[in-house]
Amino acid sequence: MPVLEGRGISVAFGGLLALRGVDVAIEEHQVVGLLGPNGSGKSTLFNVMSGLLRPTAGEVWFRGRRVTGRPPWVMGRLGVGRTFQIPRPFSGLSVFESVLIGVTFRGRDRYRRAADRRSEAERLLALVGLADKSGARAIELSLGQMKRLELAVALSSRPGVLLLDELASGLSPRGHEEVLLSYGRLRERGLTIFAIEHSFSVLARVADRMLVLDQGQIVADGPPAAVLASPRIAEAYLGEEDQ
């Protein structure tokens, strides 16, 4: 049974169809990549799967339970975590406090003792390499650090499935390597991940399976090598990057 599943998801913004009957199933412990050009509906699909947007048609299922249109706080408690393409930090709070929020209010495996919550937040910051930034305000971080904080915040609610929206975008080559390391650590922990990236090379190194979205429809679904081998995909979306 898939952990997270979208069945026939359609989203219309007025006359514009952003998603057209998208079917997607994320299996336990899989890393699934989502690729597609700008405006293809990737973030819209994430918004639907995380409860931020109610689909015009279709259903969302989480661990065999229909959760279509459930508000984000319910999805968060059930175990759907996500990051945003443009980081959305708790600007006025410290890096440590930002991570403490999810640790304190998560839907499961809550710690009763404040000391345990604090040490869990410290552990997560160490995991993403921000232990030394614990006292800094979130808004003071660089883009790369902010992306790592996004990841730590998303992990703080101990999600069953993690939706990662372009962790690597806007980063330097060194930043890309750090993101790859992060994906590697998450894989080792057996996390279920659904990740949007603009870079095929990043996704190809971490994903078990890859989906390609174009104009609101899934146009390819399979192992990265198979997707890359599809002439239509390679030519239309990946050609430039592979040169």
Partner: protein, 315 residues
């Protein structure tokens, strides 16, 4: 934190002295009112800490005042009337708080302003109950408490000590909130509501809690004010001053800080009444306007920002 507690305890002991040292009743009245303003400014700041900006605290103040006045005239004890006045303020705040499911920022602020005006209109026109524009008079004074020294409860001393105790209660609760998971939830909802909700927080619940606490403490201040002036009128207790001045006081003292709004409220109110009013009665409220301009142009962190570089100071 420890230094602050010692300083606050010292200030509380000093504040307890005026009625015992023969202060003129007018001075006691001024200080009582200053404490009530400080409590309302702190209660306003508590709501702002959860990211909700209100221009309608006059509604909560007036509801508490009218509830206490009506019950006092009906023969209930001040304690019962005060408690129900507190509940009336909290209930009134919860009602407009529900609007925060649909409205945020300036839209919510304008809705709260309109909400307070609606209550003022009701108080002005529901003459049979509220006395209309003439209001209600004859509210009994706070009774002397048999087991306390008479000096502590006689005349204006009773209202003075109640207002002081109320202010300390607001500050104590805010200090607790700042250090607890409630404060973390308030701050998370304030800083990034959608992000917070994805982490499992239900924003509406936390916002309503902030509205209820803020409205309750403001309603209690309204009830105490009734026992201080012993009269209630729509234009007195639903006055827009109770909506606008707490905002000015909180910003001047330092938004989201623990003691700043209370310190600013006491300073600005006493400056207005003791210094500006005798000199230029028609312009005595110009101090509030100047304070707001100074904060916007030069001191974005308010008075508290001058003492600490941290914007969201912890006690």
């Amino acid at each position: 934190m420890r230094a602050w507690i010692v300083a606050l305890a010292g200030a509380a002991v000093l504040a307890a002295l005026p009625p015992l040292t023969g202060f003129h009743p007018y001075w006691l009245y001024l200080l009582t009112t200053a404490f009530l303003w400080a409590a309302v400014a702190s209660a306003w700041n508590l709501l702002a800490y959860a990211g909700q900006i209100s221009f309608g605290h006059a509604a909560f103040f007036g509801l508490g005042a009218y509830a206490a006045a009506l019950l006092a005239l009906g023969g209930l004890s001040p304690w019962t009337a005060g408690a129900i006045g507190t509940v009336a303020g909290a209930a009134g705040a919860l009602l407009i708080g529900i609007a925060s499911t649909r409205l945020t920022g300036a839209y919510l602020a304008l809705a709260t302003l309109a909400y307070a005006e609606v209550w003022r209109g009701i108080a002005l026109n529901w003459t049979d109950v509220t006395g209309g524009g003439a209001g209600l008079i004859g509210i009994p004074a706070l009774p002397e408490i048999a087991w306390l020294p008479v000096a502590l409860t006689r005349g204006r001393a009773g209202a003075y000590y109640m207002a002081l105790a109320h202010l300390l209660a607001v500050l104590a609760l805010f200090a607790f909130i700042l250090r607890s998971r409630v404060g973390l939830a308030f701050a998370a909802v304030r800083e990034e509501e959608e992000r917070a909700s994805l982490l499992g927080l239900r924003p509406l619940g936390w916002k309503l809690l902030a509205f209820a606490l803020s409205g309750g403490f403001t309603g209690a201040a309204g009830a105490l004010y009734v026992y201080t002036v012993r009269v209630v009128e729509p234009d007195l207790v639903f006055n827009r001053y109770y909506s606008i001045l707490p905002l000015v006081m909180a910003m001047f003292g330092g938004l989201h800080t623990w003691l700043g709004p209370a310190a600013a409220a006491i300073s600005l109110y006493l400056l207005s009444e003791l210094v500006l009013h005798p000199v230029a009665p028609a312009l005595h409220q110009v101090g509030y306007a100047l304070a707001l301009i100074v904060v916007i142009l030069y001191w974005p962190g308010g008075l508290a920002g001058l003492f600490s570089r941290k914007r969201h100071a912890r006690p």
